[in-house]
């Protein structure tokens, strides 16, 4: 669906590109041996390198490089076997070196692509311009003291991947879908946990507007947006603002802005005097990064199955719909759970159970797939009991609820509560005979043409059998007795 802003002077479209900063999953920092773990007491995950002490030399962490390469491969991107670290110079209190070590001219990963899917099922390809490695900065706290800001350098020097998209995005929805898809790929790859609340993934959003057929107009960059919803809201608000500026005869200045979710608006962030004069130059402390082709090939060979491929495979192997495959592959853990349940079973039954009762139970208990109250093996066992006619589908729902509550295995519950399905036709016939005898008036109505009463007899028979009758056998026997 095309996103347009109707202005006073015409119709506007939006042009958006995203720079996503993704914190690399690693033990140690990009250039030092200090811990890269989130949290920790203030200033304890800090080495002299991260604190910018004079004379300290950075040494690159091999795993951080590997993570960047894996991510590049996961984005179907070109891997640059020669890349380089540069210094990006700026002055800020949480940047003790006075520069960030980044990659400017020669990033480790070149152009790639992400396919996004929109709510109406349409897909679009969004180009990736590049991915580069860089250091994170420390954290400033402004609310601890009336006149001072407090600085914690635990995050200083943690490895980030900056993933830059082409200006291919044309609506807030596409931007949301892009970030979601990127996060999904990063999580599958295990290269970033994608946790936006903890700041391990954040986006800089470049927005401009233009009228049909025009070249790009000036863009503004909205810094550090930390949720997908805010990315979408920020784009809407900023595009609206720019349209108003242009239509009232003004010009949009290229500048950095901040999104204020409370007010739903963006505002100018940095004084123009200091705007982007980073004076990049190659970091003389670091040699160019040269990757061994064989090493890259090894990383490629060890990549996990990625969302698009997994989705296609689930559709082919398990006959799930396009929508279902999307839900089942949203997280790798869900897909793993599903396959453990469904492999070799009636896949339709398995799909319905996982997407229905099982997801409902997760929602109700507020648990995630990782600490699910029912294991995949247990759910599989339950479905096995349905398939081999030990219990019927209705009883299975009761058993499942008890599994959620107690964590017990399905067979144990079935045996404890005596829930095995009755397939003994003699017992079924006897139950039916009693029901028909007790409801002679209804039998007469049925026989005079009130077919709908069949369901009533099924219900009464099942009730008489405490829900344990085999539904097919009950139906069959009922038809026979009512026909007599």
């Amino acid at each position: 669906m095309t996103y347009r802003i109707e202005g006073r002077t015409g119709t506007w479209e939006i042009v958006v590109g995203l720079e996503v900063h993704a914190q690399v999953i690693s033990q140690a920092k990009l250039f030092s041996g200090a811990s890269a773990t989130y949290g920790g007491a203030p200033n304890t995950h800090v080495s002299f390198i991260d604190a910018g002490f004079p004379g300290m030399l950075p040494v690159v962490n091999r795993e951080c490089v590997a993570q960047a390469v894996r991510t590049g491969l996961g984005l179907a991107a070109h891997i640059n076997v020669v890349s380089r670290f540069d210094r990006k110079n700026y002055f800020y209190a949480d940047l003790p070196q006075g520069y960030q070590i980044s990659q400017f001219e020669h990033p480790i990963v070149g152009s790639g692509v992400i396919e996004i899917e929109l709510a109406d099922g349409a897909t679009r390809e969004i180009g990736i311009t590049r991915l580069h490695l860089e250091q994170d900065a420390g954290k400033s706290m402004h609310d601890q003291d009336p006149t001072r800001s407090f600085i914690d350098l635990n995050r200083s020097g943690v490895a980030l991947m900056e993933i830059v998209s082409e200006p291919d995005i044309r609506s807030p929805e596409e931007a949301g879908a892009y970030v979601r898809k990127l996060r999904q790929i990063l999580r599958y790859l295990g290269t970033c946990d994608g946790n936006m609340e903890e700041g391990s993934m954040r986006a800089d959003v470049n927005v401009s507007v233009r009228q049909a057929g025009e070249a790009f107009r000036t863009r503004c960059e909205i810094k550090n947006v930390n949720s997908i919803r805010y990315v979408m809201q920020a784009i809407e608000a900023e595009a609206q603002r720019q349209v108003e500026v242009w239509e009232s005869g003004g010009t949009v200045d290229q500048e950095t802005r901040l999104f204020d979710p409370g007010r739903g608006e963006t505002r100018s962030l940095r004084s123009k005097e200091d705007a982007h004069d980073y004076r990049y130059f190659p970091d003389p402390d670091l040699l160019p990064l040269v990757l061994d082709e064989g090493w890259v090939a090894g990383l490629k060979a060890s990549l996990p199955e990625l969302p698009d491929a997994k989705r296609a495979r689930l559709e082919a192997d398990y006959g799930v719909t396009r929508y279902e495959s999307g839900v089942l592959t949203a997280e790798q853990a869900i897909a793993d759970f599903y396959e453990t349940v469904a492999r070799g079973l009636d896949t339709r039954l398995a799909t319905n159970w996982v997407l229905g009762d099982f997801f409902a139970a997760l929602n109700r208990t507020g648990r995630s797939i990782e600490d699910s109250p029912v294991s995949a093996a247990s759910l599989r066992a339950l479905l096995g009991l349905i398939t081999d006619s030990t219990i019927n589908g209705k009883i299975a729902k009761d058993v499942f609820e008890e599994m959620v509550d107690t964590g017990d295995e399905p067979m144990a519950i079935v045996e404890r509560r005596g829930l095995k399905q009755v397939t003994d036709t003699g017992a079924i016939d006897a139950a039916i005979a009693r029901v028909l005898a007790d409801n002679a008036d209804k039998v007469a109505e049925y026989k005079s043409g009130k077919d709908k009463l069949f369901g009533f007899f099924v219900g009464q028979t099942m009730k008489a059998m405490a829900g344990k009758g085999n539904p097919a056998l009950v139906n069959e026997a009922l038809k026979k007795q009512l026909a007599d």
Binding site: S26, Q27, A28, S32, G33, A34, S35, A41, P42, N43, T44, H45, V46, S47, F48, I49, A51, F53, V59, V60, N61, R62, E63, C64, V65, R84, N89, F91, Y92, A93, G98, S140, M141, H142, Q144, D145, P146, T147, R148, S149, F150, I151, D152, L153, L258, L269, R270, E273, D274, D277, R279, P282, L286, L287, P288, L289, V290
Partner: protein, 95 residues
């Protein structure tokens, strides 16, 4: 290349080096002297030669992904001019 006093002020500001107005002219002269000296390199024709960042003989040493440092808060804070508990502090910066 010739540096004017406005550029000197700008460089000083970017580097957060405080200079007095009456110093700018002298600094511009000194820096221009240095530039003039470096610009002798322009006499060498390097067209078509890629910038050299290393000798190409050495490949960078990489570290393994193991925590070998940190947990030295007091050392890290030892030069902090205005430490409060576990933190560095700076004059309030809010944007």
């Amino acid at each position: 290349m010739s540096l004017d006093t406005a550029t000197v002020r700008r460089i000083a500001r970017l580097a957060r080096i405080g200079i007095e107005e009456n110093e700018t002219e002298g600094l511009a002269r000194e820096l221009n002297g240095i530039f003039g000296w470096i610009e002798q390199l322009d006499e060498v024709d390097v067209s078509g030669v890629a910038p050299m960042i290393g000798t190409g003989l050495a490949t960078p040493r990489m570290r393994e992904d193991v925590v070998t440092d940190g947990d030295r808060r007091d050392d890290v804070l030892s030069n902090a001019p205005d430490r409060v508990d576990a933190f560095f502090t700076v004059p309030k910066v809010v944007e």
